[in-house]
Amino acid sequence: MRLSKHNDVFQAADGRVKLISTCIFVALVTMIYSWYNLVAVLFIYTIELLAMNFPIYRHLKRLMIPVFLVGIMSALMGLAAMSSGRGMEKGIIIFLRASCAVYAINAAVSSMTLPEVLYSMKVLRVPDILVNLVGFTMRYADVLSKETARMMTARKSKGYSPGKNLWHFATMKVIGQTIGVLFLRSYERSERIYFSMLSRGYTGGTMPLRETSRIRTADLVTGILIVLAPAVFKVAEMGGISWITLLK
């Protein structure tokens, strides 16, 4: 999960601070209205990450699929707003906002291990059900991917080879069957997992034991840096910069 890098200041920062400041970052970018301010936020945030020695290139590689999906959704929403005459601009703004959010969340999450993410969520009083959902999703994504790989190996051993395009009926049928079987197997497995949890006294939620580390000044500085760019541009949009000029 974590993109580790030697001397990565961003990674070393406290998980709780990173999660809170990333949430504030996301909230602020959703309130920015101009596309050039959003581009500027993206640019400044990237510079900050680079300054903190974060492995930015691997991070960008990971973002390709989510940003592609965000692009499709934004294009659809832009098309829906065409009648207003500003569909294109709205689509771009939605795309930039969503991209900023995905960019920041992914940077924060990929700078932490799964236990760190879950622990930070717990400490921040995120409801148990959500924390458990995140934990189990990560845990069983691995189990399911291995299950899929086993099924594909079994198919190959019986002479199956996937077709080369989306219109290959036999391949689509096999993919459909694989997804169906995965659902069934997941259902059965989820029951067995639940039984095993019950057998160890599970009744709803547990608090992982960990040393509670103190938040350092460096952590706070990292948190401020995360929210700085969107905060400045939001204040500027609200006319805050001109107030400051008037005060002078």
């Binding site: 019950l198 009744t203 547990t206």
Partner: protein
């Protein structure tokens, strides 16, 4: 008599209508190594889930260390009878080895110091020290199995119940598991293992229970596995040692040896006298 488990006339059917248990009557002695043998679909796993209070009797009565299995006692029972599932991927679900082993003690709201002590002890017992912060799903199958056992050990149950513990384990994994089970039994714990491995049952168990189609076919010492009628009826096979000595009537063996060591000693004596 001091019983770990007492079962009278137990019936159970699954949601899909399958009648898994059809009137089980069984007594398992405390502090013993008991193996429940039977082919697939005999009802072994369903029976084990009753001993831990996961399944409650639909008809009949189950007592574990004198405590009746019912809705009121189920949480208490889960601390008394620790259950290790067949597939560790079903049982090991926390993000780190340490947290997975601590999962049970934390559910019982034990003090932090006690939780840490128990987790350390359990990890030491299964020889997994140093892997505390590892992500369980990156471990080998044998290591995951040991994490699952450590998770149960940390609850300090008096009875250890293991469902097909040898499944998918390599020989060294099996030997490692055997050592853990023997050491637990030496400390006074009752061990109940469900399996269809007749060789393991014959050499390791003190008591053997044979099940088929939801009923108990036979119960006794490991020597019942040399009984032709029982083996045929249960659709099992003779253990290797029994097969060997049944093929060697000229060895004039009154009682088939219970282990490879005993068999070797017996044959050595025979050869030296001839």
């Amino acid at each position: 008599m001091d019983y770990a488990v007492e079962i009278d006339d137990l019936f159970f059917h699954h949601k899909d209508g399958t009648q898994a248990l059809k009137g089980i009557n069984l007594r398992i002695m405390r502090g013993r190594r008991t193996v429940i043998l039977g082919p697939n679909g005999a009802g072994k796993s369903t029976l084990l889930l009753h001993l831990n209070g996961i399944y409650l009797p639909q008809r009949g009565r189950v007592k574990v260390l004198g405590i009746e299995v019912n809705h009121k006692n189920e949480k208490k029972l889960r601390k008394i009878a620790g259950l290790v599932f067949q597939d560790p991927d079903d049982q090991v679900f926390c993000p780190t080895v340490w947290e997975d082993v601590a999962f049970g003690p934390l559910n019982y709201n034990l003090p932090e110091e006690e939780v840490r002590k128990r987790v350390d002890e359990a990890l030491r017992a299964v020889r997994l020290e140093g892997l505390e912060q590892k992500t369980p799903f990156h471990l080998s199958y044998g290591q995951k199995k040991r994490v699952a056992i450590a998770g149960v050990l940390a609850l300090k149950p008096e009875i250890f119940i293991l469902d097909e513990p040898h499944a998918f384990l390599d020989p060294s994994g099996k030997a490692e598991l055997l050592k853990i089970l023997n050491s637990l039994n030496d400390q006074g714990s009752s061990i109940i293992v469900a399996t269809h491995d007749v060789n393991f049952a014959y050499e390791w168990a003190e008591d053997v229970v044979i099940m088929k189609n939801g009923i108990v076919l036979a119960q006794g010492g490991p020597d019942i596995l040399a009984d032709e009628k029982v083996i045929i009826e249960a659709e099992l096979e003779y253990p290797l040692l029994v097969r060997l000595f049944k093929k060697l009537p000229e060895a004039e063996c009154d009682k088939i040896p219970g282990s490879v060591d005993e068999a070797a000693e017996f044959l050595r004596q025979k050869m030296s006298t001839n």
